[in-house]
């Protein structure tokens, strides 16, 4: 039952309106001045006002203005009753905040129709108000949820960070340096570098399609499988080493990648797959054997020559069982370096949407030749960040540099 407040200084009009309105089914409160009106509106929360124009102690438009200044969070619908003629009073009344007008002498059926119209507006306002309230609650819940997720992601970031090797390590005369910039807390890019046996080291770099949580979970699983330890889940070793107790036999790069490809065929093809390079380095002969599975062509920087791309592509892992894998065999010398990178670098876009590109990376690596070894990756990182214009990357960025140093260095 809608409540209507009637404001009129004439007792006769108040009685007449109250009588009619109650007959139409409304609850009615009456007052004879605008100060009492404001009081009742605030205490009873009345949303529908029928007010006379001319009253002592404050007229109808003054009441309109005061109501609009109340700043309540519900709408108050006001009908002004006027005997004034011409358009100007209407304009003034509207400017003061009235919603509608009824002229004296009051035509009761017209008044009834206008009240119904006003009631429809209030009904609409109420449902909007309800919806806004629900949206606000939803917003608060979402915010709380987001805070939880953010906190979880920070933990995940730390866990993932611990799985990556140190940015610099050296095994059997091969030095590994890494550059890593995840696009969000967790990343689909991972890499590792480890000793396989008395003369061989293994390494990999992986870019899981997409990035974020799904990609990161997959990269975590992969990092657990690509370990040289003696555990059944390891995919890179098989059986015991011929002569070295405590070591297992390292598998060739193509076998490792082919095994992964068998394992990672999903029912929903193409949603979760990855590109990678897995390699085995014989540190005595300085011969490197790697399998390129959809990962960008590595860059080879010989000590006595120009930087060049090596490799010819290859099937990503997990896309098709028809994939056949080949290995690239490269004979290196002391002082040579190899750069393995994810496409987050070459596809890194500047503010105009221009990609960093393979050629620019090749040239940049060539330029780093004259720099001291420890300055190479920081210089590359700076150039990519300068190209991007900020440190927020669209895709995960990883770069692995392997260099053949003096055997006695490590």
């Amino acid at each position: 039952m809608m409540q209507i407040l009637v404001v009129d200084d004439s007792a006769f009009i108040r009685a007449m309106l109250q009588n009619a309105l109650e007959k139409w089914g409304y609850n009615v409160t009456t007052v004879d001045n605008i100060n009492d009106a404001l009081q009742v509106i605030l205490t009873d929360g009345i949303q529908f006002i029928l007010t006379d124009w001319v009253m002592p102690g404050g007229d109808g438009p003054a009441l309109c203005r005061k109501i609009r200044e109340l700043g309540v969070d519900f709408y108050i619908y006001i009908i002004l009753i006027t005997s004034l003629e011409g358009p100007q009073p209407l304009i003034d009344g509207m400017a003061a905040g009235a919603d509608d007008f009824v002229h004296k002498p009051i035509q009761m059926e017209e008044l009834r129709a206008r009240i119904r119209a006003g009631a429809r507006v209030l009904q609409l306002e109420r449902s909007l108000h309800e919806r806004n309230k629900k949206l606000a609650e939803l917003g608060d819940n979402l915010l709380a949820m987001q805070n939880i997720i953010q906190a979880d992601l920070k933990v995940a970031e730390r866990i993932q960070g611990k799985l990556l090797p140190a940015n610099l390590s050296c095994i059997l005369g091969v030095r590994m340096e890494a550059l890593f910039r995840p696009s969000s807390h967790v990343s689909g890019d991972i890499y590792n570098f480890f000793r396989l046996d008395d003369r061989r080291v293994g390494f990999y770099t992986i870019d899981v399609a997409g990035h974020g949580i799904a990609a990161a979970m997959m990269s975590l699983t992969l990092s657990q499988q690509l370990v040289p330890e003696i555990r059944p889940s390891s995919l890179i070793t098989f059986g015991l080493h011929e002569s070295l107790p405590g070591f297992k036999r390292a598998l060739p790069a193509t076998t490792v990648v082919a095994r992964l490809n068998q394992q990672y065929q999903s029912d929903d093809a193409g949603t979760l797959y990855f590109t990678m390079i897995y390699g085995v380095i014989d540190t005595v002969t300085r011969c490197i054997d790697f399998c390129q599975a959809g990962h960008p062509n590595p860059i080879y920087l010989p000590d006595n020559g120009a930087a060049q791309f090596i490799g010819d592509g290859g099937f990503p892992v997990g896309l098709t069982l028809l994939a056949e894998y080949e290995s690239v065999n490269l004979q290196c010398s002391q002082g040579d370096s190899l750069f393995f990178y994810s496409d987050g670098i070459t596809e890194c876009m500047d503010e105009n949407g221009q990609m960093f590109g393979e050629e620019q990376l090749l040239q940049l690596i060539e330029e780093t030749k004259r720099l001291p070894a420890e300055n190479v990756l920081p210089t590359i990182a700076k150039r990519i960040a300068a190209w991007r214009g900020n440190t927020k990357f669209d895709d995960d960025i990883s770069l692995l540099k392997l260099s053949f140093v003096d055997m006695n260095c490590c």
């Binding site: 399609a209 929903d268 592509g313 290859g314 896309l319 895709d395």
Partner: protein, 112 residues
């Protein structure tokens, strides 16, 4: 994902009216393709002429199409731009997909 469709000589041609086939449109693209399959189309040609960039998610989506169409259907791509071609080359997808230069050649592939 803006995709225009037309039928030419019994072949459904999907024209990808986007400049990028990436993570943002991969899912809608897969859904649109699935929709075409459930409408009974088995011979489909995709016009890639406007796609100037494809990322790993986009590549995954298009491989998904190939798997979904199955052994009885036929999927042909045409109008591949150089950046997409180099992505196909590095991932060997140029050996997996039936690629043609233009619509005319693509449609001829269905006549054989």
């Amino acid at each position: 994902m803006r995709i225009a469709t037309k039928q030419v000589k019994g072949v459904l041609v999907l024209v990808l009216n986007e400049s990028r086939l990436d993570a943002n449109v991969a899912e809608p693209f897969k859904e649109a393709f699935q929709q075409s399959l459930s409408e009974g189309h088995e011979t489909i040609a995709i016009d890639m002429g406007k796609i100037g960039f494809i990322d790993s998610s986009g590549l995954g989506a298009i491989v998904n199409c190939l798997k979904k169409i199955g052994p009885d259907g036929k999927l042909v791509l045409f109008g591949i731009t150089p950046p997409v071609a180099s992505m196909f080359k590095i991932t060997r997808m140029d050996r997996v997909f039936n690629l043609h230069n233009n619509e005319e050649e693509a449609l001829q592939a269905f006549e054989i």
